[in-house]
């Protein structure tokens, strides 16, 4: 990971997730990353906006976009528009990031918009650009999509619309001020008045033609009526196909006497939700629907596998293992040349209570996309046999990474990749001592240290190093390796990379 002396930043700025680690509260990490965002923003706003096109976490991109939107684009002297880009390139980038995120993690995209309304500790920002972004994102979509969105994210959308328009304008629109409706919302979707009414708890005219364009909203209100009246039969009728969270919410709020198992069976869940709530569904006694594990991301599969293992649930473990193999074989591989991988499986790689096992699962996921791996060496950890007969390692014990290094050097493979949080305790310094000996005595190998744990305590940057010669690549998500590799060059040759990113912009969003 390269850095310049002027800028003490690294690619961690694109990979921050606001969750604590094994040993560190998230506040300390946030302060460190915020400092990097501010540095780069002040240093080069154009580069700051362009790098958000690289892969990164939804939170980081949300925070960076918030910073762009909170600061007027003109008059700062640093917001020069590169020749090859249109005047509104920054707005395009913000919109693109939001759109792309919404395709992968819709809930995260909404959270990022909510940052503008003061969500997740950010200051409220309300200006022409944020208004447009919010209203366009919500209402500029087809009716079917808008219908589903309004039912799934009712409270959050209400907050966003109120933030963008203010209470008074919302009040007027709800009282059928057509001019204001057209000005702010109708320009994106002229039929959307029932949606606005729904969001603000005003029951739309259920038999009106306009409401007919939004069948889920209509169903929602019929379901609510059934819940308030305690009409279980109607409630069951209208809950079919409704979002599971909404149905459970009504059931709990209005004490509708209906088993959770029935809700699990009849309401609707996204693919990701179905994997995440597999255990809860099972506990409820509901008939479990078949999950197509091969549709899921390899990280989510590893997570599901380990959580089942640690909770003693062996059901479908074989299918998950099979899906992991399948996804690994189909993954777009990253080639760093012939390599041996050393995985730190010590206790600290088990992560924090907020993100259990995250560092270790990230390491396993990295392994699934690396090409030409000659050997995998685990350091620390405990090998246990799973109920399906395969042996896996779980994070445990101390860290004697030097042992892994010696074993890796013995293989004579030219690239050694170490996946570790950078904390070595048995005993501290032995890794560097061994590494230095090998390097000073003619062993030829290239050491790459990928660190899946952010650390505000790191001497510089966001990840703790094992030896000063090898700057760690911070990696909160296995899909971000490419970002890290590009980022290396950003700071070595800023102008060259700026040109590269302008090209990336043109490829993704079109030219000037």
């Amino acid at each position: 990971m390269a850095r310049t002396k002027a800028l003490k930043i690294d690619s961690g700025i694109l990979q921050y997730v606001p969750k604590g680690q094994f040993y560190e509260e998230s506040d300390a990490q946030f302060t460190a990353v915020m400092n990097m965002w501010q540095q780069l923003f002040k240093h080069d706003r154009t580069l700051f906006s362009l790098i958000t096109l690289l892969n990164g976490t939804g939170f980081s991109k949300g925070a960076m976009n918030h910073m762009l939107l909170a600061n007027s684009q003109s008059g700062t002297g640093t917001d020069i528009v590169p020749d090859a880009l249109p005047q509104e390139f920054e707005a395009n980038i913000v919109r693109y990031n939001l759109q792309k995120l919404s395709e992968e993690r819709f809930a995260r995209a909404i959270k990022n918009l909510l940052m503008l309304a003061g969500g997740e500790g950010f200051i409220k920002v309300n200006n022409a650009r944020t208004r447009k972004l919010i209203l366009e994102f919500i209402f500029s979509r087809d009716n079917k999509n808008l219908d589903s969105l309004a039912v799934n994210f009712k409270t959050k959308l209400r907050k966003l619309v109120r933030h963008a328009l203010g209470k008074q304008t919302v009040h007027k629109i709800l009282n059928e001020d057509e001019m204001l409706f057209t000005k702010w919302i109708g320009r994106y979707n002229s039929l959307a008045l029932p949606v606005v009414e729904h969001l603000f708890d005003k029951q739309p005219k259920l038999r009106a033609k306009a409401t007919g364009y939004f069948p889920l909203i209509r169903q929602y209100w019929y379901m609510k009526k059934a819940a308030t009246e305690g009409n279980v039969e109607n409630f069951k009728k209208y809950m079919k196909g409704m979002p599971q969270r909404t149905v459970i919410g009504f059931r709990n709020s209005f004490k509708v006497p209906i088993e959770l198992s029935e809700i699990y069976e009849k309401s609707k869940m996204s693919d990701r939700e179905s994997l995440q709530s597999e255990a809860a569904v099972k506990r409820s006694g509901a008939k479990t629907t078949e999950i197509n594990y091969k549709k899921h991301d390899v990280y989510d599969l590893w997570k599901s596998f380990y959580f089942k293992l640690l909770s003693g649930d062996s059901e479908n473990m074989d299918k998950i293992a099979e899906a992991i193999d399948y996804k690994s074989s189909k993954a777009e591989k990253l080639s760093l040349g012939e390599c041996v991988v050393v995985i730190d499986a010590s206790r600290s790689m088990a992560g924090s209570d907020e993100r259990k096992l995250h560092p270790f699962l990230t390491s396993l996921s990295v392994l699934s996309i690396l090409d030409d791996v000659k050997e995998v060496i685990y350091v620390g950890g405990k090998t246990i046999e799973t109920p399906i007969g395969i042996k896996v390692v779980v994070p445990m014990n101390h860290t004697d990474l030097w042992k892994g290094l010696i074993r890796a050097v013995k293989t004579k493979v030219p690239n050694i990749i170490v996946l570790s949080d950078g904390y070595e305790n048995a005993v501290k310094g032995m890794f560097k001592h061994t590494y230095d000996y090998f390097k000073n005595n003619g062993r030829e190998f290239n050491l790459i240290h990928m660190n899946p744990v952010f650390s505000a305590e790191a001497k510089s940057g966001t990840a703790r190093m094992l030896t000063p010669d090898v700057k760690p690549l911070p990696l909160s998500d296995y899909r971000h390796i490419e970002t890290e590799l590009i980022f290396n060059r950003i700071l070595e040759n800023k102008e060259m990379v700026k040109a590269l990113l302008v090209n990336k912009y043109q490829k993704l969003l079109g030219g000037a």
Binding site: Y23, V409, N441
Partner: protein
């Protein structure tokens, strides 16, 4: 005879030595001892008056142990610490009215704990004096706390607030670093803690489950805090273990052998130090249910609590 043999601890082993700068932790591994309530069943409830800490044991079948000098902290209330360890009967609550307030000018009673720790080493030593320990006076540790904080320039006018130390950003980071540098190992129930190769504490919990819960409070709050303070005051010589020389031209196998031997060697070097610790006096303090608490004093002026269940030692916390 090692301290463990003197006190009747059997079946203990030593795990791989872990080290971070001046601090070394030697894990003690072994089987579960006695039949003690799990730490999840022990809950700090409140302070009912200044100097009185109330704990509840939710286990109806086993007695619970509150670790020595357990400290609870919360905003808008006076932080408190136990004067020693405590035993709580099955399914009962117990008030300890000899607890210490550790925030001189803060009012308010605690309702549950936001943060837990164990008092720093030096303050724990002050509570080995039975006169101080048994005294029901909430402000009995203020003078010691003021002295402990003296010279650290925390900018709080020398008030006896232990929180000023833990909450100072640079100190807080350093303490987290200690917690990060050490990891529990399989079947670990305790540890010997050393500063610059000198034992400063021995902790043994009834089970690895207990160690899982309390190790951070000990490593960060007690020993880490003391080491950070000593470093800030320049009272400890900066040091780290001297790593072995690897002769030029050593092949990979030789390198492995040298490093392996070194790891085994430091373990062997440290163990005889435990032979030097001798118990000078034993004073019986409490008997609750099947458990008894004895205050031990060592010939080095250290000491701490030994809890036995019947004849079996189940908990030990010694500061040296």
């Amino acid at each position: 005879m090692s301290i463990f043999q003197q006190l009747g601890f059997s079946g203990l082993g030593i795990g791989p030595v872990q080290s971070e700068d001046e601090m070394t932790v030697v894990p003690i591994v072994g089987p579960t001892r006695g039949d003690v309530a799990s730490p999840q069943n022990l809950q700090f409830r409140s302070t009912t008056s200044y100097g009185t800490m109330v704990f509840e044991n939710k286990d109806d079948e086993r007695e619970a142990i509150v670790p020595s000098n357990y400290m609870v902290r919360g905003r808008g209330a006076q932080d408190h610490a136990m004067s020693g360890s405590g035993i709580i009967q099955k399914g009962r609550s117990r008030s300890f009215d000899n607890a210490c307030c550790v925030e001189e000018s803060q009012g308010g009673l605690l309702r549950g704990a936001e943060q837990q720790d164990v008092l720093p080493l030096d303050l724990r030593k002050a509570l080995l004096d039975t006169g101080i320990r048994s005294r029901n006076k909430y402000n009995k540790l203020w003078g010691k706390i003021g002295g402990w904080l003296r010279g650290l320039n925390l900018g709080r006018g020398g008030r006896a607030h232990i929180r000023d130390f833990y909450d100072a950003p640079a100190i807080s980071d350093a303490l987290e670093n200690f917690a990060a540098a050490f990891e529990p190992v399989e079947n670990q129930i305790g540890a010997v803690i050393l500063f610059n190769g000198v034992p400063v504490g021995i902790e043994i919990m009834p089970s690895s489950e207990h160690w899982e819960v309390y190790w951070k409070y000990l490593i960060r709050g007690c020993y880490g805090a003391e080491l950070v303070r000593l470093k800030m005051l320049g009272k400890i010589r900066p040091s780290a273990l001297v790593l072995p020389n690897i002769p030029e031209g050593s092949d990979d196998n030789k390198v492995e052998e040298i490093m392996d031997n070194f790891a085994a060697h430091i373990q062997q070097e440290l163990l005889p130090l435990l032979e030097d610790i001798q118990i000078k006096t034993q004073t019986s303090l409490d008997q609750t249910g099947s458990m008894t608490t004895t205050l031990l004093r060592t010939d080095s002026d250290g000491g701490g609590d030994l809890v036995q269940q019947g004849d079996e030692p189940v908990y030990l916390s010694l500061v040296l």
